[in-house]
């Protein structure tokens, strides 16, 4: 199972790169949806060890793949498919995201006792999973900082939340499902409300460009 999880994890990092770098919002969204499915598959693989995780995989499918993607699709369909020019290009992003992934792996593999609260989390494939989760969080923050398109910023938030969700597989496998449902409900609502506010921004300045937010001050 370990090689499968490693391959899926690498694919998750690649999809996060495509989601951040694709200039077409639809393509970026497809990359995000692909990542959501990969996450469901990763959690599904872990569910072979912990049956309770099957429900987590189902929760991730419903919220990350279905609900959030549907909300984002509606927002993309309403506006321009082309992303506002970002602050950093694909080469910079490739270098930064690659460096973030290597740093996360190095941090987790060299200092696993510092980060992993349980003996299980120190072992493979749980350890690699923590590294992937950290990478997704870092890529999400990178997207928020370097993208000017508000929808891309929301995609960055979604990447951070995917990282947080994935980390639970290694760090809190035994956590009760109702708590997990509370966590993912917050995420869906946050995306929903952000999209309402972005629609308000688009209606006023005719663009999703966050560098033009000062125009809102009149």
């Amino acid at each position: 199972m370990e090689p499968v999880i490693r391959t899926l994890s690498l694919a998750m990092i690649l999809t996060s790169f495509v989601a951040v770098e694709s200039r077409s919002m639809r393509r970026a969204l497809y990359a995000y949806m692909g990542q959501a499915l990969l996450m469901v598959a990763v959690i599904g693989c872990f569910a072979t060890d912990h049956e309770a995780l099957a429900l987590w995989a189902a929760t991730a499918f419903v919220t990350k793949f279905a609900l959030i993607s549907w909300l984002l699709f509606r927002a993309v369909a309403r506006g321009d498919d082309q992303e506002c020019p970002p602050r950093a290009g694909p080469v910079t992003s490739a270098v930064v995201i690659g460096a973030l992934a290597i740093a996360a792996y190095a941090l987790v593999h060299r200092n696993v006792a510092f980060l992993a609260p349980t003996p299980t989390a120190e072992m493979e494939p749980y350890r690699t999973n923590v590294a992937v989760a950290l990478t997704l969080v870092a890529v999400g923050i990178y997207a928020i900082v370097t993208r000017r398109d508000a929808l891309k910023v929301v995609l960055g938030v979604c990447l951070i939340e995917n990282g947080a969700h994935l980390s639970l597989v290694s760090l809190a496998t035994t956590m009760h499902e109702t708590v997990l449902i509370g966590v993912v409900t917050d995420v869906v609502l946050a995306v929903f409300l952000l999209l309402i506010l972005i629609r308000g921004i688009e209606e006023r300045i005719g663009s999703r460009d966050t560098s033009r937010l000062t125009l809102l001050r009149g």
């Binding site: 006792a113 928020i144 947080a164 009760h176 509370g182 917050d186 409300l193 308000g200 006023r204 009149g218």
Partner: protein, 488 residues
């Protein structure tokens, strides 16, 4: 049953408000619902004082001294906000004639969503589940985002967007902190018991030092962002300034205080085991006092000055907590009560000035309003004196407690910073009073059209001023609850 009733009543109020027709009728349904909520919170507090902590839902809800005190504070401020809004919200429409239709459409949403926000705050205060504490705190952000951007003009939408984005991202750090604490405690307590905060203290010494420190720092970043501690404060000024005054008051008084519940809960568990965490919090507090104080001093816009001044005051709470021990927690709890009353009042008075002058927010364009707005001016002066830490108001008791806690812990440098920055607070608050209410009116201000605000707004201001005075003159009034809160 009582904690469930306290939690459920604001939700019932929200449903009743939503189903009622007519902006004024809705306003009074809201006032009635929040009055009953306040009574329930008071009964709950009295039960906790007489009989000890109350639990519900199998220990998922725990009302100890701290929770009872904060639930009472949330209930009182929510009631004051409902009374203020009964005059403020309908009256806002004539000021915004060009967008009257938009505001009229959004007012029912505001009136119904506000009690929902109150319920989420009470959930934060009373939950005993470490991960649901995070969920509830994020829920307070979600419930308040549309209230911050109520005016739905460019500035309000920008403020709402930044508020929601920065807080959602910032509080993710706290999520990792909560999960780390839970998973480190689970092997010792079992999977369900490890979620309960009241159980975590029993195994605090068994959690590896590195994990404990990392989790606590992550929690501080997340909850500190939500509270508005420096350097996580950049969202504060826009959100406080662009929200309607009633929302600014709720933000500055209680929404900013509930994240400290999370900080206190975690510090009471981890602080005694790892004293370096107390030092971190102490200096973060001192840093926040300095940053917020000087930013407030530089502002010309009334609500922005109050916003940055709030940041500075949150620093006093962190500093008191950082001194550790009973006195530090007692001082932090008393200061939070005092600041909630004081800042709620000051945002109400700022809203009244803006309301009466038809939208004038800049202090340089205001002046001589004392004669036209005597109640607002008197309440603003009382709030200014309290914030500056002068007797006989609650601010004096609050700041004296913080100073006493820092002196007892022999933290002389942070104490010196806190006292020196109090003088800065006094300077900008006296400056505000002078510029807005005294002197001559500037040329552009049409004084003939300036009249004192509606009665409900004045009643709400006087209610908070009276509470501030009561806590200042009789600091022992809240002692049974403060004592329990500090011992929690």
């Amino acid at each position: 049953m009582l904690p469930i009733a306290v939690l459920a009543l604001p939700l019932l109020t929200a449903a009743a408000v939503w189903l009622t027709r007519g902006v004024r009728v809705r306003a009074w349904v809201w006032v009635a619902g929040s009055a009953v909520s306040l009574v329930l919170a008071a009964v709950q507090a009295s039960r906790v004082v007489s009989d000890g902590p109350i639990t519900a839902l199998g220990g998922e809800l725990l009302v100890d001294g701290l929770a009872a005190l904060m639930a009472l504070l949330v209930g009182f401020l929510a009631f004051a906000c409902a009374v203020y809004a009964a005059g403020y919200l309908p009256g806002v429409h004539p000021l915004e004639a060009s967008r009257r239709e938009v505001l009229e459409r959004r007012t029912p949403m505001f009136q119904a969503l506000f009690p929902v926000l109150q319920a989420t705050l009470l959930w934060v205060v009373m939950t005993n589940n470490i991960v649901l504490l995070w969920v509830a705190l994020e829920a307070t952000t979600l419930a308040s985002a549309l209230l911050v951007s109520f005016y739905w003009d460019g500035r309000a939408i920008e403020a709402g967007y930044k508020y929601l984005l920065l807080l959602t991202v910032g509080i993710t750090a706290a999520f990792f902190g909560c999960v780390l604490l839970y998973s480190a405690a689970a092997p010792h307590l079992g999977s369900h018991s490890a979620l309960l905060i009241s159980n975590l203290r029993n195994v605090a010494d068994k959690i590896p030092r590195d994990i404990a420190v990392l989790a606590t720092v992550l929690l501080l970043i997340g909850f500190g962002t939500k509270a508005g501690l420096a350097p996580f404060h950049p969202w504060v000024a826009d959100a406080y300034a662009e929200a309607p005054a009633v929302m600014s008051a709720f933000l500055g008084s209680v929404i900013s205080k509930v994240p400290f519940i999370g900080i206190i809960r975690v510090w009471q568990i981890m602080g005694p085991q790892h004293p370096e965490l107390n030092t971190l919090l102490l200096w973060l507090g001192a840093f926040t006092i300095v940053v917020g104080g000087f930013l407030a001093l530089a502002q010309d816009e009334l609500k922005r000055m109050h916003a940055y001044s709030s940041v500075a005051q949150y620093g006093y709470v962190a500093l008191a907590l950082g001194t550790g021990g009973y006195l530090g927690y007692y001082a932090a709890a008393l200061f939070m009560v005092s600041h909630a009353l004081t800042k709620g009042l000051l945002f109400f008075t700022a809203g009244s000035v803006i309301y009466a002058t038809k939208g004038q927010r800049s202090m340089s364009a205001l002046g001589g309003l004392g004669k036209r707005l005597p109640v607002t001016a008197a309440c603003s002066l009382a709030g200014a004196l309290s914030l500056a830490g002068l007797p006989p108001f609650s601010g004096f008791a609050g700041k004296a407690a913080v100073v006493f806690a820092a002196a007892t812990a022999a933290q002389w440098v942070p104490l010196g910073i806190a006292v020196a920055m109090s003088l800065i607070t006094m300077a900008y608050m006296i400056g505000m009073t002078q510029r807005v209410f005294r002197g001559a009116a500037p040329a552009g201000l049409e004084m003939d059209t300036v009249h004192e605000v509606p009665a409900t707004m004045r009643v709400a201001m006087m209610l908070l001023a009276a509470a501030m005075l009561a806590v200042g003159l009789l600091p022992g009034l809240l002692d049974p609850l403060l004592d329990l809160a500090a011992r929690t």
